[in-house]
């Protein structure tokens, strides 16, 4: 006993356990006699390389870290395939499953984590696997040999690596992810979207917001059913939704356990003779699921045990995804927050998105997609807490640029120093020489350069460089930025630029627009998001996916918010005509939902005030039942078509203004616009419907219909301009549809028709709507096409349960009921 060194027993033959032993041996090879228990029947291998093994890029032999000779050479006894079943702290022994009892002087727990299994029916069916060890990989490979469908639950690092491997092995892969973006803990929305698009491009199906209800199968896995009822066929299901520190042994032995086994800075547990290390521990409230922190823990453990304690201080982590050809990097905290500034660079041609988050002149986080070369450099600056004030301007371009003096120069000297064949615009391959020649040839503005040589005409990320070149060659003659303002502070593009790009590049989703057009913020702002949502809806009615979170509250709730947070409800009354039945239904609804005010609006219909957001779907259902639809009194959309009584009753009436108004409203209701849009039809020039202050007004005369446009009775009163006169109701409808569509396609978001017509000129509108017969018909056809798809009653959709969460509280807190619960 006196000669034999003390006995160190290690539970867990994984990455942390073996590394800790290596660190101890490196400091003092003779200090302990060592026994390692491993549940897996094999030597220590590199767990993170299981992904390349699954993908077929590596073999098991290639990922072994310590072969049997390492154990032999260091006199370590490896007991593999026989997990420890219990710890007796009083007797200082451990007992294995096979009954082997061994005493220890020091015990080290390194049991890692267990995959988390979501508790849904069918979770135990054969064919449901996790992704943690070599056995799991072998099961997946066996399934892949048979081909078919694989469903991976979990769109985090592990799930995506499993999906990638199975897809390379020839399976049809669907990834189900609960959250709206992939890898949301590591990536922001923009990068998550790029990743999703890239994976879909490789043939995987990615379903976000997918909540698994059940794994279906008779005797083995056959499909996965989601809470929304969707069923996805599956020959194998991989659960990769997360891990839980493996603390069972420690807990049973009575050690202090929180989320993990609690340890101090030297990795000692609440029992001085028991250490713990790796994913199973909790240090200072943190648990880790990556290897870098484990290496640091292992060093501190060995220092504490056999040398000078140095004390573990916690780790900052960074992540890389191991999917070949897709480069993703993230580090630190990217959630923003008080005092944080984002520096964003997007290069659509190269598919690059970089975001560095800076606080008090220090990097606190970074998300890189597509070009991760500088990931480690940012991570290094982050960990060291380096002051980056000096290199801030060049930071986002990476280490080479920032340390090459880019920051020391002023930006104009910097472009002056570029050689003539240096590339300025990557999208269009335009060199500095070409841009200079274009400026020399008379292009004195950014727009002129864009049309002259195409530089900065595509993604816009080189706009700054081009402007510097303009300043360089024109000196004081350069007038500076364009007088047309960018859409908002998130972009250098104007509304028109953005709309043109949406069509040209066929952009269909908000994050795609932001990426392609180099948005300088991660997720836009309250001013650009609603505009983009509208532009996409207008450009691609059939493909448009509504983004409720990019709508102003009224359009999201389909009701007008009031100053006390209740809502007002206005059902549509086509042409201002109603019936006793409709009025009865409105009266009943007003009683039932306790409308505090019932008002006749200036738009010839009835407004019910003071409705609670929880009651909205019910009141809509009641109004729907009486045949009424939403009046869109809340929308940048068609509001009302106001009419007068017309030839039906009025002694001066020349035409059926009421009937025509109803026809127009039936054609146009439900259409979204850049701003609200109002129409009126008056039966004679006495104009009782006030048609000449509407966006589109019709004044009936004996010989036909005068069509008026661009009126506004709001903040700035503007009478209409006469567009033209037509002979029939059909023509009136055709011109109306064409005019609306031109406005929809070309006005800036939040421009009413009045300022828009003033800007583009009446002649322009006439040239498109009156003079160009074919153009007019095409405009009308596009309007009707869009209406065919989007003319839906949003109330009916909501009343039948869509977006129910918007109307219900998450929960309710009743203080007395809760106490003691």
């Amino acid at each position: 006993m006196t000669d034999t060194p003390p006995h160190l027993v290690v539970i867990g033959n994984g990455m942390a356990g073996c590394r800790a032993v290596e660190e101890i041996l490196a400091r003092d090879p003779g200090k302990y006699r060592i026994t390692i228990f491993g549940a897996e029947p094999r030597v220590n291998y590199n767990r993170i390389m299981l992904s390349p093994v699954l993908a077929g890029e590596k073999t098991y032999e290639e990922i072994i870290i310590n072969g049997q000779d390492w154990y032999d050479d260091n006199g370590i006894e490896l007991i593999s395939g026989d997990p420890v079943a219990g710890i007796d702290r009083a007797a200082k022994t451990v007992t294995s499953r096979s009954g082997r009892a061994i005493s220890y002087d020091k015990l080290m727990i390194a049991t890692g984590s267990d995959p988390f299994i979501i508790p849904v029916p069918g979770k135990d069916l054969p064919g449901v696997v996790t992704f943690r060890d070599l056995d799991d990989v072998e099961k997946m490979l066996a399934a892949a040999d048979l081909g078919g469908n694989a469903v991976v639950i979990g769109g985090g690092l592990l799930g995506l690596e499993a999906a990638h491997g199975l897809s390379l092995r020839g399976m049809q892969v669907t990834v189900l992810h609960l959250m709206p973006t992939l890898m949301e803990r590591q990536l922001d929305e923009a990068a998550g979207w790029l990743l999703k698009t890239a994976l879909e491009g490789r043939g995987q199906t990615i379903l976000t917001g997918a909540d698994t209800a059940e794994i279906v199968g008779d005797g083995k896995v056959e499909a996965v059913r989601l809470k929304d009822g969707t069923e996805i066929p599956a020959d194998i299901v991989v659960m990769a939704v997360g891990i839980r520190p493996n603390v069972a042994l420690a807990k049973e032995a009575g050690l202090a356990v929180g989320r993990g086994i609690q340890v101090d800075d030297d990795m000692v547990t609440s029992d001085a003779d028991i250490l713990a290390v790796g994913e199973c521990v909790e240090h200072d409230g943190n648990v880790y699921g990556l290897v870098a922190p484990l290496w640091e823990m292992c060093r501190s453990l060995a220092d504490g045990l056999v040398a000078q304690p140095n004390g573990y201080r916690g780790s900052v982590t960074s992540t890389k995804l191991k999917v070949s050809g897709i480069d993703v990097f993230s580090a630190g905290d990217f959630s923003g927050g008080e005092g944080c500034e984002d520096i964003v660079l997007r290069d659509a041609t190269r598919g690059v998105y970089k975001r560095v988050i800076v606080k008090d002149n220090k990097i606190v986080g970074a998300v890189l997609y597509g070009d991760t070369a500088d990931g480690n450099w940012y991570f290094d600056l982050l960990k060291k807490g380096e002051d980056i004030a000096e290199i801030r301007d060049a930071l986002i371009f990476g280490q080479a640029f920032a340390s090459g003096g880019g920051a020391a120069l002023n930006p104009i000297d910097a472009v002056a120093a570029l050689s003539d064949d240096a590339e300025i615009c990557g999208c269009n391959g335009v060199s500095k020489g070409t841009v200079m020649a274009c400026i020399g040839g008379g292009a004195q503005t950014l727009d002129a350069v864009r049309s002259g040589c195409k530089a900065s005409g595509s993604c816009g990320s080189c706009t700054g460089l081009v402007e510097n070149l303009l300043a360089l060659s024109l000196g004081d003659d350069y007038a500076g930025e364009r007088d047309v303002k960018p859409m908002c502070k998130c972009t250098s593009f104007t509304h028109e630029d953005v709309r043109a790009a949406i069509l040209e590049k066929e952009l269909k989703e908000i994050p795609q627009v932001m990426q392609e057009l180099s948005w300088s913020t991660p997720d836009g702002c309250a001013s650009c998001r609603p505009a983009l949502n509208y532009y996409l809806l207008c450009a691609w009615p059939a493909e448009h996916k509504e983004d409720p979170q990019s709508r102003f509250v009224n359009e999201r709730m389909h009701a007008n918010i009031q100053k006390d947070g209740t809502y007002s409800v206005v059902p549509r009354m086509f042409g201002g005509i109603t019936t006793p039945n409709e009025l009865r239904a409105i009266a009943d609804a007003a009683d039932k939902y306790k409308a505090r005010t019932v008002k006749v609006t200036g738009g010839q219909r009835i407004d019910l005030f003071g409705i609670k957001k929880e009651d909205l779907p019910d009141i809509w259902a009641d109004l729907n039942a009486a045949g009424m639809v939403s009046g869109h009194a809340y929308g940048k959309a068609l509001r009302t078509v106001k009419t007068c009584v017309g030839s039906e009753w009025c002694r001066f009436g020349t035409q059926d203004s009421t009937g025509l108004g109803i026809m127009i409203e039936q054609m146009t209701w439900g259409s979204w616009m850049p701003h609200k849009f109002k129409i009126a039809v008056s039966g004679c020039p006495r104009n009782c419907a006030e048609a000449t202050i509407k966006d589109f007004g019709v004044v009936c005369v004996d010989s036909g219909y005068e069509l008026h446009i661009g009126g506004n009775g709001g903040i700035h009163l503007r009478g209409t301009d006469l567009l033209c006169k037509v002979a029939t109701e059909e023509e009136t409808l055709e011109y109306c549809a064409a005019f609306i569509q031109l406005y929809r396609e070309e006005a800036r978001y939040l421009d009413r028709t009045a300022p828009w017509v003033e800007r583009v000129g009446l002649d322009y509108v006439k040239s498109r709507v009156v003079d160009d017969d074919e153009g007019r018909r095409a405009l009308r056809a596009r309007f009707l096409h869009s209406q065919k798809i989007l003319q839906k009653d949003p109330w009916a959709e909501r009343a039948s349960g869509k977006e129910a969460h918007l109307h219900q509280h998450l929960a309710e807190i009743r203080p007395f009921a809760v106490v003691g619960a």
């Binding site: 609960l178 959250m179 709206p180 973006t181 949301e184 803990r185 922001d188 929305e189 909540d211 990217f334 959630s335 923003g336 927050g337 008080e338 984002d342 913020t521 991660p522 997720d523 836009g524 702002c525 309250a526 998001r529 609603p530 409720p548 979170q549 990019s550 102003f552 509250v553 009224n554 999201r556 709730m557 918010i561 100053k563 006390d564 947070g565 969460h805 918007l806 219900q808 509280h809 998450l810 929960a811 309710e812 807190i813 009743r814 203080p815 809760v818 619960a821």
Partner: protein, 114 residues
């Protein structure tokens, strides 16, 4: 995780729409709005704009701010402070996510409650 002395469990995190909010009335107290940002971060604030009591839960969420639906003040979700030129502050409530559940600070949530 169940209720504890310090924390109240108010539901699963997936019930919060990304870039959106849900509300939580407190009997006898101030209604709470729970927000989720694009990054998946969750914040809780009183559902009352410091300007004129607008329901912040109905605003547009971007980065980690919300723009009030009534008159467009921008409020920091982290601190409750009005941003830009506006001055005012709305109380925040501590939130954490544990095992997919949203937990909010019991004491702060019940402040002023009967």
């Amino acid at each position: 995780m169940p209720h504890s002395a310090l924390w109240l469990d108010v539901g699963p995190v997936e019930q919060l729409p990304a870039l959106g909010a849900r509300t939580l009335p407190v009997q006898g107290g101030e209604e709470i709005a729970i927000f989720r940002t694009a990054n998946g971060d969750v914040y809780a604030l009183n559902n009352k704009c410091p300007h004129k009591q607008g329901p912040l839960s109905q605003g547009i969420v971007h980065d980690n701010t919300v723009t009030c639906p009534l008159h467009n003040w921008r409020i920091s979700l982290a601190t409750g402070q009005a941003l830009g030129d506006d001055v005012g502050c709305v109380p925040t409530i501590p939130v954490k996510i544990d095992g997919g559940r949203i937990l909010i600070g019991r004491k702060e949530a019940l402040a002023n409650a009967a």
